[in-house]
């Protein structure tokens, strides 16, 4: 007997529940119901498309944090070949909340007089790593890195620079971890040093927010020449809950905080904080890992090919210009 799928539906996806149930029922029957099932699946897709094209900011927050949302390692394994994970900061420990290593990006294109060559591009990868269940999340500290995570990332960035490989960072964290050990070992120092170092990197650097872009913890690996965001991911200086409880003195006002703080991909594109939005499959990235990976892979290739035209000096200047221009003020 076929098992019922382990679906995690968000509050606003509840309208889908009935349709899913119908499909499940049809599948239990002895007769061939594949035609009916197909029709139902189409209706689900239409409904999903409908729902996901009208999400409120707080609903996007929920999608961005979805327990089944593809993680950094999920995407790495789908997008790249021959991933070699590298561990440790060479100082204190290996932080499971931050992963990274070497990999090959297949299918890159280079134009030359004779036409186009297709080749595998060596890249250095870094990213925060969440778990897909509670046990994994505990091991990964819910994607909240300690200073040693940021120092591991920095080690990998310097390695990339030495060997002239582009860097791709995957951002997915509620924030850098807050705790006694993190403060003792210099969480602020680690992030600050990463920011300064990223500014000076001589290789192409692309950062992609794939879920939660939580404040300094996200930015700590996020100063790419290009910053991309998955359609239903968020990027903010503070979580909507944190913002609500500090500024509105009421954690329940998180939906309002999400609204006014402008943390969705569309808002950030408008403010030029990010460069491109990467489309998600119908129903969100968790509904189709492969399609998500495909979309991200294409975006990486496009931007890498753009950045390949810049010299080291130009890459640094490009990055400086980008961040130099951030801010709104008047001068009179």
């Amino acid at each position: 007997m076929p098992q019922k799928p382990n679906r995690v539906l968000l509050e606003f996806e509840k309208p889908l529940l009935e349709l899913y149930k119908k499909i499940d029922d049809l599948k239990m029957q002895d007769m061939d119901m594949s035609e009916e099932i197909k029709m139902l699946e189409k209706r689900i897709e239409t409904l999903q498309r409908d729902i996901f094209s009208n999400l409120t900011p707080i609903q996007i927050v929920q999608v961005a944090r979805h327990i089944k949302r593809p993680t950094t390692l999920d995407l790495i394994n789908l997008i790249f070949n021959d991933f070699v994970e590298m561990r440790g900061d060479r100082n204190f420990s290996d932080d499971p909340a931050m992963v990274g290593g070497l990999a090959m990006l297949p299918g890159c294109k280079k134009s030359n007089p004779l036409g186009e060559t297709i080749f595998d591009q060596p890249v250095v990868l870094i990213g925060q790593q969440k778990g897909s269940n509670t046990k994994e999340n505990i091991k990964r500290n819910f994607g909240m890195a300690h200073p040693e995570g940021y120092r591991k990332a920095l080690r990998l960035m310097h390695l990339a620079e030495r060997f002239n490989a582009p860097i791709i960072s995957f951002i997915d964290t509620p924030g850098a971890f807050c705790g006694i050990g993190a403060e003792e070992r210099g969480q602020a120092e680690a992030i600050a040093k990463n920011l300064r170092s990223m500014a000076g990197l001589s290789v192409p650097f692309i950062s992609i927010v794939i879920g939660e872009g939580g404040s300094g913890g996200a930015l700590g690996i996020g100063m790419g020449n290009r910053v991309l965001m998955l359609e239903f991911s968020i990027y903010s200086v503070i979580s909507p809950e944190g913002c609500a409880s500090i500024l509105f003195r009421d954690a329940k006002k998180a939906p309002h905080a999400a609204e006014v703080s402008k943390i969705t991909a569309i808002d950030l594109l408008e403010m030029n904080v990010i460069d491109e939005i990467i489309k998600e499959p119908v129903g969100g990235a968790h509904n189709n890992y492969k399609e998500t990976a495909l979309n991200i892979g294409s975006a990486i290739k496009k931007h890498l090919s753009d950045l390949a035209r810049l010299s080291s000096r130009e890459l640094i200047a490009d990055r400086y210009r980008k961040y130099r221009n951030m801010g709104y003020f008047t001068e009179e």
Partner: protein, 292 residues
Amino acid sequence: MAKLALHQWFQKRKLEKEAGPASERLDIPGNLWIKCTKCQVAIFAKDLDANLKVCPKCGYHFKLSARERIEATIDPETFTEISPFLHSKDFLGFVDSAPYSQRILKSEEKTGLADAIVIGEGELHGIEVGIGVMDFSFMGGSMGSVVGEKVTRIAEICLDKKIPLIIFSSSGGARMQEGIMSLMQMAKTSAALSRLRSAAIPYLSIMTDPTTGGTTASFAMLGDLNIAEPGALIGFAGPRVIEQTIRQKLPPGFQRAEFLEKHGMVDIVSERGKMKEELKKVLHFFENAAKT
């Protein structure tokens, strides 16, 4: 008063001093006597000022305003303020208990500053420097677009003129009313410091009470020397946030300047009274290193 540049303010203050008691004194409760936050002893306001606002009894360091700090650090008559008329913009139309635009106006009125930092050029024991001084009384020293822009400008000026940069931090972190833009100031200021570093321009960061959040996690921690005032609270997360996260009390002295020194994040913890002398020695070293 909001649109007063610092040199004008010094001028005004000089006139006021000559005319009678400075009106700024009025915002200290009781005017003449001040109770020490730490040891509770009553100190004659004039004595406290003469001692750079350090309690003569227990050594507690009261907060200094940006202007007081500049007076205590830069040689008299040598300070020139830069970009005094940069103002924040309420580009999100952000309203919490009050609209952000009103908050800014109120802070301007209260402090006589345009935002939470003053930048400028001046001399320290005769050595030309670029300096930035944050002021906690302007919205808790929070970093928004203006703080980020001014730190970047003074860094660019130092790069251009090849003079050392000194920044006194005092900040509760990012200015949430500017959303993601406040976060991006961490990237912007650190990028500016990256250029200074590549050009071997010295940068001295002095952390005063309190320096937390995005300020600590960007320019404040990036000094060629990191210096702190005794007892200053310095951290990534604020102590309350950490207590909520780990659900336990924090040990005494946690996140204080001496704690950071012990944990390798700060080179020197220097009393306010010795700070200028300490800076002079360091600047003298760098000045001579650049010559040879």
